[in-house]
Symmetry: C3
Subunit: 304 residues, 3 copies
Amino acid sequence: MRLQHVVESQQFTVPLLMELFQRTRRMERIVARGGTEDYHHKVMATLFYSPSTRTRFSFEAAMYRLGGKVMSTEQARMFSSEVEGEQLEDTIRILAGITDVIVIRHNETGGAERAAQVSRVPVINAGDGQGGQHPSQALLDLYTIYRERRSLDGLTIAIIGELDGGRTARSLAYLLSKFERVKIFFVSPPEVQMKQDILDHLDEHDVWYALESNVDRVVGEVDVVYQTRIRPERVADRRSLGGFTIDSSVLRAMKPDAMILHPLPRTVELDRTVDGDPRALYFRQAENGLYVRMALLTMVWGDD
Amino acid sequence: MRLQHVVESQQFTVPLLMELFQRTRRMERIVARGGTEDYHHKVMATLFYSPSTRTRFSFEAAMYRLGGKVMSTEQARMFSSEVEGEQLEDTIRILAGITDVIVIRHNETGGAERAAQVSRVPVINAGDGQGGQHPSQALLDLYTIYRERRSLDGLTIAIIGELDGGRTARSLAYLLSKFERVKIFFVSPPEVQMKQDILDHLDEHDVWYALESNVDRVVGEVDVVYQTRIRPERVADRRSLGGFTIDSSVLRAMKPDAMILHPLPRTVELDRTVDGDPRALYFRQAENGLYVRMALLTMVWGDD
Amino acid sequence: MRLQHVVESQQFTVPLLMELFQRTRRMERIVARGGTEDYHHKVMATLFYSPSTRTRFSFEAAMYRLGGKVMSTEQARMFSSEVEGEQLEDTIRILAGITDVIVIRHNETGGAERAAQVSRVPVINAGDGQGGQHPSQALLDLYTIYRERRSLDGLTIAIIGELDGGRTARSLAYLLSKFERVKIFFVSPPEVQMKQDILDHLDEHDVWYALESNVDRVVGEVDVVYQTRIRPERVADRRSLGGFTIDSSVLRAMKPDAMILHPLPRTVELDRTVDGDPRALYFRQAENGLYVRMALLTMVWGDD
């Protein structure tokens, strides 16, 4: 299967996901052996219209572990000194003439899609807009669960946080709907609960879900605690925020083989005392991003 | 022939241009075969006192296609955390001790020349000041014409736009004066026409030229339409700006084997409907910048 | 001997310094032969919370001369687009999962130490805080003296400038106290003289020192003139500043085999007329930074 561009997580069918995950395992082994130089002739441009060093570094490290080269900007709005806000399509056409892959973070939803439409080299979306897509994050989340459990069928998961605008929570729910017998608890203050479009999508695909407003009620049942941030200013009753925090009391209630994930960065919703627990896999999750992005790169180049 | 530094387009004699163009062709073939690792031991510093990601990426991709390494800043004014605006000469002397080539964009005219005077490694000017030089742009413009026509002698060209301050238009006119039987139409609103110093230079070298104020009058005669931007605020009668725009009506009047060039970025002066025409070579022109810059790098290092 | 992290110059014992200097010599020879590709599988992250292109480029060039790869930010405070000022420890844990060494410049004293405590890959301090450490600078200063004299025992040195807050002057004095029969003149306006903590340390280690307020009185006696900046606004009597300037009259008084060092950047305290004198070694000193940093990298990776 050939991926041309990586624009949104919806592109990924279950067979494509399984191929991605097999490649990702292979990349883990390659990195453990010291990386490869197989792609030394490839050049990546990371074209970021706003800074996100975390995501940028993950893509750049992926490229380097494959042996490739990277050129990089976090102020792509200044792409030319002469015309502020030069047309995205022109920028992409020019870059496509001198590089082998463009990793783009654009400030407008749909920016990555616009880039893909005019590019003769693969475009990978590293996040576009506020309500937009961030497919490599969703894929590494899913891979982290898959890697530990060997399967996504039959998964029970609590997705916690400010879910209405949560790009990663939304994408994860979307991807999980492709698997069998998945159960999702959305745990959120009512005013920032998961939006109806995702719930409708889950209904259409016969995915079981429930809306909850306290972590404690569900944490004993789930295989995965997927925690995300809640900005206090979005919640009417801030005293209720404690009900969405992962701390040592939540650890005690969790199943012994469950796992805690978080897309990071975190603020107060994930207590640092949790870090030492073997079920705390969020740093491993970040590391998996490296392998998933390496796998994506080899897929868009059409290599076996 | 050995180039020590690339500071201004005037350095290039016709034999040196021909050597550059031959090397450039070779670089095109090398990139088509996947680049080379011949220069893996070379390190480039791109030292930009103001951001210009387009030019920077072109030089960096050139270095990478040669197998080399790149370190990069677009805020060179902060070169040291202690002394804002550290003396350029000191910065260059330090960089020359740790790199193999310095690509500089300086905010003052003459900055690249100052750098070259104290550097023991080659310095390449990537644009200095407003009225300064940008020799690699002029060279890639000229190469693009040469590549299509196999010769620059006998060329008829329309150079269009805001020409009085146009760095690329001025440099191109200068370089064209080195060839035989060249005819140049300068097409510009009278208030921003090409300056007398360039016209005097053309007179001295017996180059035919004419000043025009409408594209339509000349477009049927020329081999090359070289379009540049016009900032509307510089023109008294903005209704006249349509007379300097390249659109489908200009396409119809152009010779079938002519070409349209533009240094990019563009605003309204080059309509997007033109992009699909086979004579629209401006994205190819940008790509040629990669090969020209690769060739320049091998020349300043004195390699065959 | 294995270095795990490079956090402060106090880590370096005399045997460790001697090993570092031997490695540094070897690195000089390797660079003279065109560098090595031995570390092509290594990836460095330069994580700068404030820009210092000079120091960053020196580390990056060191990594490149070893054959390695570099990813780089000078605005690490924007590490994540979501949480301004993401916790340093989280940032480091994530980076440690995808790189082989982290070179950090942090804006708070102790930042590098905090990073080292949570990192599973080596952390190298590239300067932390105002009153903090900058160990690679101190090491390259010391190496430059060692390289010329083959020994640090018996050295007589004048350390000149605004010494109370001078990070490099303080670190150098500290490192020199490890050697035999060293004599130090601290030459400074009284109001910015070296602080008592360093003088106490020298007393404890039986190092001879004297406080002076004019260069001319000591310059004929010393093997090394180590000049640093004085900000005029820190000195009550600005007319006295001439007494701390290195110029041609100081050159005449210096011993013929002495040397002038300066950590750079400079302002007026080191006259440009001095640059041509064979005893002016400050650009050589900057170049030595490349070799010292290469040596540090191979040491933290535990390679022979």
